[in-house]
């Protein structure tokens, strides 16, 4: 069963996932840009997989192109689930 999509739940999964891509845990905020965190398109492809696995929400290439900040990613997942 996929986890219920709440902003808090999505934020936690995203925040927990980012350090494995090399992002500094202390620098991960909703406002941080993926560029600043050195999280690139390949990392976002992996993140999408983690999100789909956890919440059953698919992010497509077009969606990922629009995401700039960590908060954007969280909001996108929440809106897609709605």
């Amino acid at each position: 069963m996929a986890t219920a999509v709440t902003p808090e739940a999505v934020e936690k999964v995203v925040f927990d996932a980012l350090p494995q891509f090399g992002a500094e845990p202390g620098e991960i905020t909703r406002e941080a840009t993926f560029e600043d965190l050195d999280v690139d398109s390949l990392d976002l492809a992996e993140l999408s997989q983690i999100i789909e696995d956890e919440f059953g929400v698919q992010l497509k290439g077009d969606d990922i192109g629009k995401i700039k900040t960590v908060g954007d990613a969280v909001d996108m997942v929440v809106s897609r689930a709605g």
Binding site: G22, L42, E46
Partner: protein
């Protein structure tokens, strides 16, 4: 007139440890890097050299190449910035197999967890050119970059092709070498099924009791530069790549032509390319796999190519100390050859105690000894032959 090719940096990760000099010194001392029937790079810790991101973005074979490239570029004095326009610096890093560890892990995920769980990194990590791409990115090399995939001759092909890029003016420098990390169950099983590996787990090239090769892993990278420009920038030139010969047996997918005709021709071409004669060769670093077929055919090939001169030329096999590094063998052995020539020493063929009838070259059994070359230039050949019938030979000279 052809441009001259200088070697200005060496780097290696091998079962004998981290570093080109470590390989050289430990082999000369008679140390073996083979443990429990395999040549594992047990001293290699990727986190000591690579960031979290770099490490997870690279299969082990790429990690070896990255670390070896750092060492080579540092020695060349390229640490901060290359001395040439980046577009004039190529990068050729070959492999025999590529990211087979990544491939088998991803395949296991596919079977056990389904297609949706397969990592998007699977292809970029397993592809045979991953190391070439990663090394070019790490050092900002923007000239031609690619990966020869020619089994156990890939390393020599990489250096040979790099030499030609510079010779023909397509690049002023090339970072060249090869890498392999195939110590995974699938590769062990598959080579085992071919009956090519030693059941005893002993690498003893040219010995009558040899029963196959011992698998190893590792990488080596060399910095090649057009010699005139290298001199102009005051580089410390270690050696020259004088010649390159490449041929094909066109005979059998795995077995060498038993007379070694293609291998002999590659040696002749490498010497002719260098403008040298058999009498100029003071050392041969043999492919010397420890398989019954290779060592017999290679001995015939060396005799055919070098004629009477062979009587006074020591011939030894690096694989006696580290096993068969497959695609990495050619570059690792080129590094070993260069350092041996520089030190005027013939490294030993370890474990060779019982010569086989007909295998009667001077294989330097058991113990290194000085190369007595009487002031002659220190010129050597480094042989690499691969499944598919590929033969690639480098003619190297210590500076």
């Amino acid at each position: 007139m052809k441009r001259e090719i200088a070697v200005t940096g060496l780097g290696a990760v091998t079962p004998l440890g981290i570093g080109a000099r470590t390989l050289h010194e430990r082999w000369i001392a008679g140390t073996s890097g083979i443990e429990d029937g395999e040549g594992t790079c047990s001293e290699f810790d990727p986190t000591a050299y690579l960031s979290v991101k770099e490490a997870r973005r690279s299969d082990r074979f790429t990690q070896f190449a990255l670390v070896a490239s750092d060492e080579a570029l540092k020695e060349a004095g390229w640490e901060d910035e290359g001395p040439y326009d980046p577009k004039r610096i190529g990068c050729i890093v070959g492999t025999g197999i590529g990211g087979i560890d990544t491939l088998t892990r991803s395949h296991q995920v596919l079977l056990e967890q389904g297609a949706k769980k397969v990592s998007p990194l699977s292809i970029p990590l397993m592809m045979g050119n991953a190391a070439a791409g990663a090394v070019s990115m790490r050092h900002g090399l923007r000239g031609p970059s690619f990966a020869p995939v020619s089994a156990c001759s890939a390393g020599a092909h990489s250096i040979g092709e790099a030499m030609e890029l510079i010779e023909y003016g397509r690049a002023d420098a090339v970072v060249a070498g090869s890498s392999e990390a195939a110590l995974v169950p699938l590769a062990r099983a598959a080579f085992g099924a071919l009956d090519a590996m030693s059941d005893l787990g002993i690498s003893r090239p040219f010995d009558a009791r040899r029963d196959g090769f011992v698998m190893g892993e590792g990488a080596a990278i060399l910095v090649l530069e057009e010699a005139e420009q290298a001199r102009a920038r005051g580089a410390n030139i270690l050696a020259y790549v004088r010649g390159y010969g490449a041929t094909s047996d066109a005979y059998h997918l795995t077995a060498p032509d038993s007379a070694g005709a293609g291998a002999a021709e590659a040696m002749r071409i490498a010497l002719a390319d260098a403008g040298l004669a058999p009498e100029d060769v003071v050392y041969v670093n043999a492919h010397g796999t420890s398989t019954p077929l290779n060592d017999r055919a290679e001995t015939l090939a060396i005799k055919a190519a070098l004629g009477d001169a062979v009587r006074s030329i020591p011939v030894s096999s690096t694989k006696s100390a580290i096993g068969h590094l497959l695609g990495a063998a050619g570059s690792v052995e080129a590094v070993a050859t260069i350092l041996a020539l520089r030190d005027r020493i013939a490294p030993p063929t370890l474990g060779l105690e019982q010569p086989e009838e007909g295998l009667d070259l001077d294989y330097v059994p058991g113990k290194a000894r000085p190369l007595d070359i009487d002031g002659k230039p220190a010129v050597g050949l480094s042989n690499a032959f691969g499944f598919g019938g590929h033969n690639a030979v480098l003619c190297l000279e210590a500076a």
